[in-house]
Symmetry: C2
Subunit: 482 residues, 2 copies
């Protein structure tokens, strides 16, 4: 068993020595993902894809509860559509994949493989929306999108990735702004209550907002290396695309008007987020509510009479209660299996040997704390369900405490440098000008993450810009980021 | 009310006069689908997409129960991969979409947007499979695919469509052949028990098989115009792709061996199938198990005291029982609503007015038979659940009876012509040669659909080829087809 353990640990790089390599080891060696044959692409393997399916199910519930319906729009966008919104084309044109031929035959107009779907969806909304009675339009799409990136990493940044994109139209600016913030709140609640990852929420600066948006709101999650990961965004688009695509409706007062628009999305990036927010030296630590396997049932001394039968019985009882179970009766030693399920981040390992059966109990090993407790076989499903909730709560608390203990208030560039080098987020006052953001990026390799809704730090920090020293009234987070 | 009804019927072309136009009217006017801006593409609107989601959920259950897991492979395939399997490239090269540029920059190698994923998946399997312990590999993918078609129709044939593709690897030919037939059987059971559509199952001829397969099995569904729709296929691929992609494994006897492979798929085409197998002059008739709305609750005289409240209460009771309900308290007249829900194919309309409340009953109108019955409000959820099952059974029986009453045994080309012109499938004896299939296609515009597993007709038909008159021992179906 000692030998097995050593072998497994050897497979994964020490996260304190080389965090990026730890990440790569974890995602490849636990079978979440593999590199595709085309540079920058990824294959999402079954263990990774099941996390995505669980994310989808949880988000679909929330989208439906807020009145949205799913639909599917074509992946190919006429190049001329991309050009209609000036900021949008500037943002996306350099990185889009272009379809120019069918077989050997050139197309009359090149097609863009969607990097996002505002343009094609607006072209349809222009057709569907005629009257104020057609509003609001509340549609979401699950789809693959393509953005050709120079530096890629599985889940975090790949040429093709999977996501959802909500696209809504509203009668008034007020209603559209309300929707923008409502969906950000849906994301925040999901991050905390499902992925057990804490996030900072707020508004992006002009420099960092979505190409084509009036305002972009974001949630930023802190990874264990102190870097920020933009986990999801919600955009108030105003009438920018509605004007470009001439969407208009007849209002109840007989006037033709332009609707107001939002879009919002999260992607397979979330899988990268939960890995880097929760993992440890042994590998993955999956939040119970999306873990493909919530409990690995490992019989001990499984050749002994009655062990496999009893273990199977316990496993079936858990399955009946809706718990996701892997029953592991493979030939390998229990120690080998323990290490594998730990590396794969399974929240609970349930062990059951002859002595346990005699005592009417099982051993439950928690992945989050590495604690082992015994529990009666009676009512085992209830015990396990409660333990899964405890694990979730504990993981969220860890993420929350880690995040807030790594936010440093800074009042000048020297303080900022120290804080960033020490793997922290930086909370500062900012004058509002782009030049300061550019300078901070150039000198400290940090970008502005968001102007938090919670601006209370303004009362503690002196009201001078961290960079230029001019008057400043806005609290802004900076961090190094994925 | 009479005026409303007339208006609705006018919107949909008479199916006996122009079936293709009836289909187009139905899919567009019920909000299932719309044309995309690029020729040959479709937008799947929420009402259509929800049918697809229900299809996915039902199939996922069955794929999981047979040991398969979902995964996701990149959409872009290096052109060189496509060329590795000779039949495969011949079949697909003319209709693939080619990505040649990123922004303004040409790619070193052109990329194919997947028309199907055998090649890219095999390139990964070659990496993942080393030992007999890695077999079988049982993976399914839900994805969009692109095949550029000259003649397109929503759901039936579009440049981009959604589908699932299973790709499995096995140690022996026997096991792979068993998998091929097992998945065809999963499809058949799904068609009958979920979509309420009967199918004929059997093997494709050499002429009609998948580009790269050893054997292709199919299920063929009869549409109401007597044409056949290939509703799903399952391929035994032998070692064709495994050889092209050099997949090999170390067997327990110490020898390097090639695995045997299968692939199988169904697509959004199934939505076209259920529309054309069940619809009628009033529009859609959706099978209850995939209908986005199973029950439309329509209050009658909803301005009267207590009506809306009671109707809402009944609707909530149904929703609590897991039934998909639309509560329709819009301003329009009940007659207008009745027509709309009929056109949209909702299996049950539940009406509830002041007199019904007095009598403690509701009115249930079946879409399949147009019958209206009253039922007590007490235990309404059980009553409705049972009625949905009855409707399913009745719709399946109609599909079954229609299919088998439109199969005509033919022994010569003249008989065939009459049978096909009368909108039937033709069951014949066939000598086994390609020339006869080509001739039948040229002269009668019919294609071979399958050699049915049930070859019992060979005892009734004379043992001569329907086309060339030579000795024939194979029963083969021909039909005009989508």
């Amino acid at each position: 068993m000692a030998k097995d353990q050593k072998q497994f640990v050897k497979e994964i790089t020490d996260m304190t020595v080389d965090f990026p390599q730890w990440y790569t080891d974890v995602v490849l060696k636990t079978g979440l993902v593999d590199y595709g044959p085309v540079k920058g692409t990824m294959v999402i393997r079954p263990y990774g894809y099941e996390i995505w399916e669980n994310i989808q199910a949880e988000l679909n519930k929330r989208f439906k509860a807020t009145g949205h319906k799913n639909a599917y729009f074509p992946m190919f966008i006429p190049y001329s559509f991309l050009v209609k919104e000036a900021d949008h084309v500037e943002g996306f044109a350099p990185e889009v994949a272009l379809v120019t031929h069918i077989g050997n035959t050139p197309l009359e107009e090149n097609l863009v493989v969607r990097p996002t779907s505002e343009t094609i969806i607006c072209s349809m909304y222009a057709k569907w929306v005629q009257s104020y009675r057609d509003l609001p339009v509340l549609i979401n799409q699950w789809a693959n999108v393509v953005r050709w990136e120079k530096t890629t990493r599985p889940f975090l940044r790949t040429s093709e990735f999977l996501w959802q994109e909500g696209h809504t139209l509203h009668r008034t600016e007020e209603e559209a702004r309300e929707e923008t913030l409502k969906m950000l709140e849906v994301y925040r609640e999901f991050m905390q209550n499902v992925l057990a990852v804490d996030v900072l929420v707020g508004k992006k600066t002009e420099k960092e907002k979505f190409a084509g948006a009036v305002d972009t709101y974001t949630m930023e999650a802190m990874m264990l290396d102190g870097k920020s990961l933009q986990a999801g965004t919600s955009h108030y688009l105003g009438q920018n695309f509605a004007s470009a695509f001439e969407i208009k409706y007849l209002d109840s007062d007989g006037q033709q008007k332009r609707p107001y628009q939002t879009s919002w999305g999260v992607s397979t990036r979330l899988i990268g987020a939960l890995i880097m927010a929760h993992g440890d030296q042994r590998g993955l630590k999956l939040p119970p509510r999306v873990a493909p396997i919530q409990v690995a049932v490992v019989p001990v001394a499984q050749h002994k009479e009655g062990v496999l039968e009893k273990a199977k019985e316990v496993a079936n009882e858990l399955i009946k209660a809706g718990i996701r179970v892997e029953f592991d009766d493979r030939e390998q030693s229990p120690g080998w299996k323990f290490n594998e399920w730990e590396m794969k981040g399974v929240p609970i390992r349930l062990e059951l040997g002859p002595r346990d059966i005699e005592n009417g109990q099982v051993v439950l090993a928690r992945r989050d704390t590495n604690e082992k407790v015994t529990a009666p076989i009676e009512n085992i499903a209830d015990t396990v369900a409660k333990l899964l909730d405890d694990i979730h709560e504990n993981m969220f608390k860890q993420s929350h405490d880690f995040t807030y203990s790594h936010i440093i208030d800074c009042e000048n560039m020297d303080e900022m440098k120290v804080a960033l080098d020490d793997k922290n987020f930086v909370r500062t006052m900012w004058c509002g000008c782009r030049e300061c953001e550019d300078k901070i990026k150039a000198e400290l390799q940090a970008t502005s993450r968001c102007m938090p809704f919670d601006q209370s730090a303004a009362g503690r920090l002196k009201n001078k810009c961290v960079c230029c020293g001019k008057d400043a009234s806005t609290v802004l987070y900076f961090a190094r980021a994925y």
